[in-house]
Structure formats: structure tokens, C-alpha cells
């Protein structure tokens, strides 16, 4: 399996760059993935609001949240979420938040 290297630590990811084990996630991992996947150099407070909400939802329910919940809990408009994460909530935000790849057409 492929891996990424963050601060000299090797972290396993799948062939699409999702973390193989969500427990290996850390702030630095999110920053690395955001740069790699979304070309985002600096994560803003708004990025973190989305990432933290998704991550906490996943830790609690073992599921990615619906985009409605992301909007409701961050107070952001839908179109703004897509601006923050150009690859979308699944391949952008959920990946940066360390979640596994969701099932379905994504």
C-alpha cells in the first residue's frame, strides 16, 4: 500500500490517498493532505470548522455527515463549502479530515 510522509512519519494511505487508518490523523496530516489534494497552502479557521465538524461526527457515528449538517453546524452556505474544498465534501473535506472513502458514486 502507498504511504505519505509527514514530519518524518510514514502514514499508510489507500490508492486514492484516503488514510488507511483514521487514528493516524493529526493536524499536520490534515495540512499535508489539504496541500496535496486541494492545493491549499494554509488552512483557514473556516477550513478547520468544516474539518473538525466532519471528524467529530465520524468519531461519534462512524459515518461522514450529510452536507446539510456540515452547512447547519458551521453556518456556511453550500457554495462556500465547495469553494473551501474544490474536490467536494467527500474527496476534499472528508479526506482531509482523515475519514475512509465513502461508498457510492464517489
Amino acid at each position: 500500500m502507498p504511504f505519505i510522509e509527514v514530519k518524518e512519519t510514514k502514514i499508510e494511505v489507500n490508492e486514492e490517498g484516503f488514510l488507511a487508518n483514521h487514528e493516524n490523523w493529526a493536524k499536520e496530516v490534515a495540512e499535508f493532505l489539504a496541500k496535496e489534494e486541494e492545493g491549499t497552502e494554509d488552512l483557514t479557521d473556516d477550513h478547520w470548522a468544516v474539518i473538525n465538524y466532519i471528524r467529530n461526527h465520524y468519531l461519534e457515528k462512524k459515518l461522514a455527515p450529510m452536507v446539510r449538517k456540515i452547512c447547519k453546524n458551521t453556518g456556511f452556505q453550500l457554495k462556500y463549502i465547495y469553494e473551501l474544498f474544490p474536490s467536494g465534501p467527500a474527496k476534499g473535506a472528508c479526506k482531509v479530515a482523515g475519514l475512509p472513502k465513502p461508498d457510492g458514486c464517489v
Binding site: 500500500m1 499508510e12 489507500n14 490508492e15 486514492e16 484516503f18 488507511a20 487508518n21 459515518l63 461522514a64 450529510m66 452536507v67 446539510r68 449538517k69 452547512c71 447547519k72 453550500l78 474544490p86 474536490s87 467536494g88 465534501p89 467527500a90 474527496k91 472513502k101 465513502p102 461508498d103 457510492g104 458514486c105 464517489v106
Partner: protein, 441 residues
Amino acid sequence: MKDLLEEKIKQLKPEDLKKALQVFREKLNQEYAAYFNSCIHCGLCADSCHYYLTHKDVQSLPAYKLNLANGIFKKYFSFVGKNIPGWIGAKEFNQAMVREWVDSLFGRCTLCGRCSLNCSLGINIHLLIRTARSALASIRIVPLGLQSTVDTALEKGNNMGIAKEDWIETVEWLEEELQEEVSDKQAVLPMDKKGARLFYTVNPREPMFFPLSILAVGKIFYAVGESWTFSGDNYDVTNYGYYSGDDEAAATMSDRLVQSMKKLDCKTLVLAECGHGLNANRWEAPEWLSKKYDFEVKSILEIVADYIRQGRIKLDPSLNPNPVTLHDPCNLVRLGGIVEEQRYILKHAVAHFIEMYPNRQKNFCCGGGGGQLAMTRFSQRRLKAGQIKADQIRKTGAKIVATPCHNCIDQLMELNKHYKLGVEVKTICEFAADALIIDKS
């Protein structure tokens, strides 16, 4: 991390292999058997396949894939193959062969049917490949992401495992958005409305992550004052059993939409913009369920094109000024027969429409079909195979790619990033909704 699929292959027992062979045999009718004996190795299929064109390896050649299945057919179901296998290329069905089947028949094929269209003998190559997948699916040898998408759909009622309350709350939220957009507090997105004319299905990806396409359709229905409804249960237009080859699972999924039609007493089952969902639910499902439907099955594209033809909606193409090209989803167009509706809508909804080449039935697959998006282990091949589509798009100079399929949209978004195309990707109804002039009187 362990390769779980490889572990499963290693644990296969002779009785498992026997079961797979039995399923393979049961699904091969005379027509298919005739196909197996028809390939004359002319090589025309090579240039038709996006995998072969981008990888140039023999394992990607459609005739080679066909031959992988054919070798097993000969060995177990033909007189000469049983007795002098080496003479006619008959092959043993063992773990090594299962590995090869997985690698080529799951890992190098999107079931797009372009090889079948170009075959000089008219062999339905993609159907035979799907039949071999069925044999593997019967012993649960299916790449994990694809199998888990089938399992999630079977267990949870939709392929992303969306809870009913989440689905209903999302529709209520979108209803508020619609009311704001059309400045009308009476605008609704009806849920479980019995006796409505249309039952509209969705791809779970829409409510989960990309709901603007739902809003677009809601806006169009609002503009015409259509009698329509969503369903609180059994609304998923997708059918990953079609991709994995599991006909039983596929039948269960399609039957759910039939149940919703009965429950809601609607006239027409309307399929969202989904390539394989159309092929599965309009053409294959009556076969899987062994029954004739007593209701109409239509693509939303046919419905919207009719609205335009009948003058029931007014569109202003200048509201979509940027150049738009169109990607034809294989299951909808080449295999599904919905070819001109999307063009008719776009020509009325956008100012500058550019065809890519080749197009319509001859179009190349985006590379995301056949369950490839769900099969992470083959994702690098998928991206490489998508290079043809990326080149096609780039040549048009368009700024936006329209495509009536959420599976294609996801692959096109990845190609956009990978090949730096700088385009936006949208559904057809999103263009129609953006061009809509709503007459308040």
C-alpha cells in the same frame, strides 16, 4: 495493511470454484455460447477500448479479456476442451485464473460496451465480461469497495447508507432553499405524495454531498406545476449489483423502486441523471425480476425535453453564456438509447454548445463506469484510462462539461484535477434550471 481480496482468493476451496463455474454456465445461453466461438482476432476492439489505448498492454485488450472467459468456457463446457484442452486454449479455473479474472475483468473494464459496438462480428464482449463477473460475485470475489457499496445498499436501503430522517431533513432544507430562490413560500419538494403523476428518484450522492442537482429538478417541476413526489424510502436510482454482476442483489435494488411506485401509486418512474441507473432500471430490471412493468420508466431528460417541446418552460440561453461541451454516459447513450434529449435541452439552455469528438454512441467512456469509482485498488489505472476523455474535453475549449450521470461527474471532477483541465462539471438539469424564466402570473 492486508490485501483482503487476495486473502479471500487464497482461501478459495474447490467447491467455491465449482460454484462459480456453475453460475457461469447457468448464465450462458446459446447466444452467449455462440459469441465465445465467434472471435476471429481481427483486433478492431483494440482501438475502441480506452484501457488498451492508454495502457497498450495485452491484458487490457478486449479480445484478451474475452479470451480469459472463453478459455474457461472451453475447458468445462466443450467436448474438445474437456479432452484435449491444450489444443484449443482451454484453461483451468483455479486461484491463479481467478486472480487474472479479477485483474482484467474487474480491473480493466468499465462495461462501457464500446468494444461490442466496434466488434466486426457483433460480439457483446462487455456482456460476457459481466457474466464472468457474475460467476465471481457468486463466491463474493468482488473488489472490496464495489462489494461494500452493494452491501450498504442491500442493508441500508441506499448505497451511501443515508438514514431516513437525514434524507427527509435534507429535502426540507432544500425546499427552503427553493422557496428563497423562486421567492415563493408555497414552493414545495413533495415527499410521499400518493397519486402524484411522477415518482422522482435520486442518486444518494446528491442528498449526501451534491444537492444542487436536486434543487435544479425541483425548480423545473415548480415552474411547470408538475404533479410529482419523492419517496421517503426506496428512492435510490443506482444499482451496483449491475456492476458487480450480482443479479440477485440487482433485482432486489430495482424491485425497491417498483415497490415505491406501488406504494405511491404514480404513473411514471422518473430516473435521475444516472447512466447505469437508467440501463439497470429501464432495460435490465424487468429481466431480473421476470416481469413486465405496468408503468412507464423515463429519464428526467425525456421529461424536461418534453417540457421544452410543449412550451411548458421558458429558457433563456444567455443566462448560461460560457462554452459548454457534453459527455455522453455509456450506459445512458450507447447502452441506454437516450441520445438526443440532452442535446435538445442544452441547445435551448446554453448560449454556446460544442460537441466533443467522437460523440453520441461512439463516445469514449470517462473511465469511471463499471464500478471503477468504487474499486480503489484500480484507481491509478482509472485515472490513466481517463486521459482520452481529458484530451477530448481539452480540444473543445469548453469551460463547462455537462453530463447526465453522477458517476461520470465524479470521474470528470477527478480528471479535471489530475489533468488540470480548468473546467466545471454539471448535470443537464442544472443548466436548464439556471436558464429558467419563471412566469409569476
